[in-house]
């Protein structure tokens, strides 16, 4: 899990900046903000959101992930509402959140239009949506698929299906179709190991590999 932990700070910074930019919450904290973490895994992003004052719901389709997330939240002394469900199923219940994000999830989704519609349905007025994912380019295939899965083996082989990687224009179109205008995008790139910020990630202009998008109701 080390690569995902190293990837956390830059994603948190982008989520907090987006929340501020779109006026969902001011001051860099999330006090009173209803947060939905879609594909929360073990809670790498959900816990920071809860520490910053957010009322966090984390959902994941994998029971093992929810069990691990609950155990970790107990250890951290954080109250997070973890549920084993999907965005599509949860949207049917009519609940709404001020901040809805899906980080490194949408590239595993089969029906992206339905997924976007579900996120849009759960977004309260004035809320913020954030997506982080992987572009479908030769560079992303080389880096995210071949290098990470087969050469460096930092993630298990078969983690990604490159055919499901998402181009920024496709993402923008699909969310526009659901009534969400993704009006900001940024690239993420890893820093060379042991250099400044060693093993961390920074924001870059190029969306060629990892990138993030944010927006609200059009």
């Amino acid at each position: 899990m080390a690569p995902l932990h190293a990837f956390a700070p830059v994603r948190i910074d982008y989520i907090l900046d987006s929340v501020r930019r779109l006026g969902t919450s001011a001051g860099g904290r999330l006090d009173g903000v209803r947060v939905l973490d879609i594909g929360c895994g073990g809670g790498i992003l959900a816990e920071p959101m809860a520490r910053l004052g957010g009322q966090v719901t984390g959902i994941d389709a994998t029971p093992e992930a929810i069990a691990a997330a609950n155990a970790h939240a107990d250890m951290s002394g954080l109250a997070i509402d973890y549920r084993c469900t999907t965005a599509e199923a949860l949207a049917g219940s009519g609940v709404q959140y001020d901040l809805v994000y899906a980080s490194e999830v949408i590239e595993h989704v089969t029906d992206r239009r339905l997924f976007a519609a579900s996120m849009a349905a759960m977004l309260a007025p004035g809320g913020t949506i954030v997506i982080t994912t992987i572009n479908r380019t030769l560079a992303s295939f080389a880096l995210a698929k071949v290098a990470l899965e087969y050469v460096l083996r930092t993630v298990p082989a078969g983690t990604h299906d490159p055919a499901r990687f998402v181009k920024p224009a496709e993402l923008r179109d699909e969310f526009a179709g659901a009534g969400i205008m993704l009006d900001d995008m940024t690239g993420f790139a890893p820093l060379p190991a042991r250099q400044i910020g060693g093993n961390g990630f920074i924001r870059v202009g190029s969306l060629a590999v990892n990138y993030a998008a944010s927006g609200t109701h059009a």
């Binding site: 080390a2 932990h5 190293a6 956390a8 700070p9 948190i12 910074d13 907090l16 860099g28 816990e47 920071p48 959101m49 809860a50 520490r51 910053l52 250890m75 951290s76 042991r194 250099q195 400044i196 910020g197 060693g198 093993n199 961390g200």
Partner: protein, 412 residues
């Protein structure tokens, strides 16, 4: 569980806990010392301009019982040379410079600095655990559990035999046991030199000048103190140091005069002679899961340029900023991003200082005797090396690290 546990009650540990208490974190200080007012420390600490700004921001500067002595000039020369030709050559090569603006640094007596730090930390929200030593540790996913042992049964640990913290900041000195326990290996050179540290009183005023004499046996450094007093750090081969530690005051004064020359008149010995074994060392890494090293535990450098404490101050300033940043991300102090950023932020200055000070030392004292005595050649070598800029950078200070406290602002 505390966010941060600082281990070590010396100048670095107390300063560190004070600095980090401004970083929106819950800080504990674990300290062996029961009695803050133990003994008189003859040693002095050189603080560069950035360090002075930081200590002012922390409120320490205003509490110093004796005012810090400013350094406005630096005078560097090779040792007293025997021949008339050499003397003329030496006059041609001016390695001295001065600043017209604010002082390039200050010299503070360790006793006064320790007292001011202990005074200030009382006013900070820091949990103090006195009179204990760390007897063991266990790293977990979310931090470290330290086992505490009461020293002589006089401890003030409130009965606690352990302490949990997300991050341990080891300020337990050059031979850090915590670093060793965390597997952060120390590469050490053999100890062949000892520094004699004491106070001298000169006949003439030093004019706020720091003096460095590079002698064949090692550098002789005088830092200006109040009045006509100066702090001496004299690096010598072990045997020679042992001899000069044992002789009477008159013989020691004669040796100082011979080494330094008549520039300041007679040099009277005005303190106790302390021996400080010099063991150049280097740690490849200064962090492990749940732990970072700071101060001498991270970098025990040669005291020649008086830079050791400035590195410790920069460690604390950088760590304070990183803790604020980590907290504002909702991440715990144990998060790997913090220690990796600390490691990366400190790498450059650590490497620069270690090479600069060890390079300066060996440049002058390890050359073959034949070359050393060719005064002209000696200075030709000197002129081609950026010695002067190294010293002026060091004196200016804070150039290799960026942090709010080094600019005189509190973190956050």
């Amino acid at each position: 569980m505390h966010d941060v546990a600082v281990v070590g009650g010396g100048l670095t540990g107390v300063m560190m806990a004070t600095a980090l208490s401004h970083a929106e974190m819950d800080v504990a200080l674990v300290d062996r010392d029961n009695d803050p007012a133990t003994g008189v420390d003859e040693r002095t600490t050189t603080i560069n301009a950035a360090g002075a700004r930081m200590l002012t921001a922390l409120g320490v500067w205003d509490r110093l019982a004796t005012p810090p002595a400013p350094i406005r000039r630096v005078a560097i020369a090779e040792g007293i040379l025997p021949t008339g030709l050499a003397a003329r050559r030496r006059a041609q090569t001016d390695l001295s410079w001065q600043t017209n603006a604010s002082p390039m640094g200050f010299v503070i007596g360790n006793t006064a600095l320790q007292a001011a730090l202990r005074d200030i930390i009382e006013e900070r929200p820091v949990t103090r655990i006195h009179g204990v030593s760390v007897s063991g540790w266990q790293a977990g996913d979310d931090g470290i559990e330290l086992s505490l042992a009461d020293i002589n049964g006089t401890g003030d640990s409130s009965g606690a035999s352990s302490l949990r913290a997300a991050l341990v900041v080891a300020c337990d000195g050059a031979r850090s046991r915590l670093a060793e326990a965390a597997g952060l290996g120390l590469r050490e050179a053999r100890q062949t030199q000892t520094a004699i540290v004491t106070i001298l009183e000169a006949e003439r005023h030093h004019d706020d000048t720091a003096f460095q004499r590079f002698l064949p046996t090692g550098p002789f450094a005088l830092m200006p103190l109040d009045g006509t007093r100066l702090s001496l750090v004299w690096t010598l081969p072990n045997a020679e140091a042992d001899r000069l530690l044992a002789v009477d005051d008159a013989a020691f004064e004669a040796a100082c005069l011979e080494a330094f020359g008549p520039g300041l008149g007679y040099l009277r010995h005005a303190g106790r002679r302390l021996a400080w074994p010099l063991r150049p060392s280097w740690r490849r890494r200064i962090s492990a899961p749940g732990m970072v090293l700071a101060g001498d535990a991270a970098h025990a450098i040669h005291p020649l340029a008086g830079q050791g404490y400035n590195l410790a101050l920069a460690d604390a300033a950088v760590l304070a900023d990183l803790l604020v940043e980590t907290g504002r991300r909702g991440l715990p102090a144990s998060h790997m991003s913090l220690r990796r950023a600390y490691e990366a932020a400190r790498w450059r200055e650590r490497a620069a200082m270690t090479t600069a000070t060890s390079g300066l030392n060996s440049l002058f004292s390890n050359a073959p005797a034949g070359i050393r005595h060719l005064a002209g050649l000696g200075f030709a070598v000197l002129d081609r090396l950026p010695v002067k800029s190294v010293f002026s950078d060091i004196a200016a200070g804070g150039q290799l690290a960026e942090a709010a406290l080094l600019e005189g602002r509190l973190p956050g």
